[in-house]
């Protein structure tokens, strides 16, 4: 990713807004942009979702492959999660091998999903030690107007929850739902103008400092955390956004459940 020029004026203006408890687009400090979630939008994927948050748009697609189980876990299948931000998504994203930024995106989303235990990997085993399903979650950004993390995490879990294991196509039994028991959801907070805000857009990311990503499971258990970019934060600041994350994650979880029921 090309490092964009940060106008000093933008930083000063965002700080000025923060001092008055305002944001440049008129949102409240912990208000998110409108979220659109669409399921089963990719005919060639076994599970898929499209998420739109403001002008940020991403796709998630689930594919299956047959793998040989790892020797140390002969009765388990695998989960792989990869994020790709190609230059289609914005002026500063560049072609070539995955950038550190997009690798971080994929790994943070991966940890949240994996560690929540929402996928029973033993369920994915076909013949112990010989054959198992590998679930591959591909995250793909179409338009980056900030906060790709939350958009990817939301699209990712929604795609997995709507996925069908393609047993027939691979000649290993019937098609069945993947069966994702839990719904880990991510909420990200950026420090903009000296205080944390939820769901920063591109402009706030450009003129802001560090960011914190929190993934919470169904019972408010923490499954992954990540602090990114240069910056320092206090325990009190963290406690405040953790509190906010609990209620926001619950809202997003309801959105996913609502969509899945509508199927």
């Amino acid at each position: 990713m090309a490092i964009p020029l940060v106008p000093k004026l933008l930083r000063a203006h965002l700080a000025e807004l923060a001092a008055e408890d305002q944001r440049h687009d008129g949102r409240g400090r912990f208000a998110g942009r409108d979220v659109e979630l669409e399921l089963d939008c990719l005919p060639r994927a076994e599970g898929s979702a499209r998420v739109r948050m403001g002008d940020t748009i991403v796709f998630a697609g689930v594919k299956f492959q047959i793998m040989t189980p790892y020797p140390d876990r002969p009765n388990q299948g695998g989960l792989m999660c990869s994020a790709e931000v190609r230059p289609v998504a914005g002026r500063n994203w560049e072609p070539g091998p995955p950038s550190p930024e997009s690798i971080e995106l994929g790994r943070v989303v991966d940890r949240g999903i994996r560690e929540s235990g929402c996928i029973n990997t033993e369920d994915l085993c076909l013949i112990p030690g010989e054959k198992a399903w590998q679930v591959i979650l591909d995250l793909f950004a179409v338009s980056d107007d900030g906060n790709l993390f939350d958009a990817f995490a939301l699209a990712g879990i929604a795609a997995l929850k709507s996925a069908t294991v393609p047993g027939e196509r691979f000649g290993v039994g019937e098609d069945r739902p993947l069966g994702v028991a839990k719904t880990p959801v991510m909420c990200s907070y950026h420090k903009v103008g000296g205080r944390f805000v939820y769901d920063a857009d591109k402009r706030e990311e450009l003129g802001g400092d560090e960011r914190i990503h929190i993934t919470l499971g169904d019972d408010d258990h923490v499954h992954s955390l990540q602090k990114g970019l240069k910056g320092i934060f206090t325990a009190a600041e963290f406690a405040e956004i953790m509190d906010e994350a609990r209620s926001r994650c619950a809202e997003l979880r309801d959105l996913i459940d609502e969509k899945l029921e509508g199927e």
Binding site: L5, V6, P7, K8, L9, H13, E16, L17, H24
Partner: protein
Amino acid sequence: MKGGSVARPDNMSGDKGADGPRGSRQAPLLVAPGDDLGDSGELEAGHGVLAINGRLRALKQGRMSNRGGTVSIEPRRTAYVPRPSDLVIGYIEGCTSNIWFVDIGAPFNAILPMSLGPSKAEFGGIRKVLDIGDAILCRVQEVEENHSSVVTMKGMGLRAIRAGSVEDIDPHLLGRLIGRGGNNLRQLKEDTECRVVAGDNGRVWLDGDLSGIIDARDRLNALLTEAKVEEYRGDA
């Protein structure tokens, strides 16, 4: 299809619009690149229009109009291409010991030589005068054949921008922002009690009270939304 039909060879033989864009009083038409706009005849090809073999052809998507015999297209979007004496807002991208490199939002960026800068700097002190990330209000001094351009800060009102906010709009919407005889811009300044400087490169500097800046920005956004809605309607 919204917006009415386009004069093309296949629909020009009909009874209406048979003379294509020649009837200068007709409503502007929506066109797409490659559309045939009729016989060039006495007509001049304006912005977004090319005369090829005696016929006019659209080069852009937008609204076609015929003003005083010049057929042109008001496009949906235009890239800013600098011209001498344009007033622009730029960001300092980098520097050497006697030159600043300035991003003016054009396909090719500009230089600001020390001699045209706001003040002289000691050797090695160029960043004390203008630092990377600073915004400046400047004028385009010259544009070379190959599009590299030189900007100057010598002139009335040209200065480093240290307060307020800079917003981006498409350059072709500047006319709408400024209004006939500058009326809209004057009104915006009065209503919001802000200083508003519209650069020819589509960057607009808003300076004043925070509430005034927020108000002015809301009005700018409203203008952009309005333009987006009108984009596909024939009525200008």
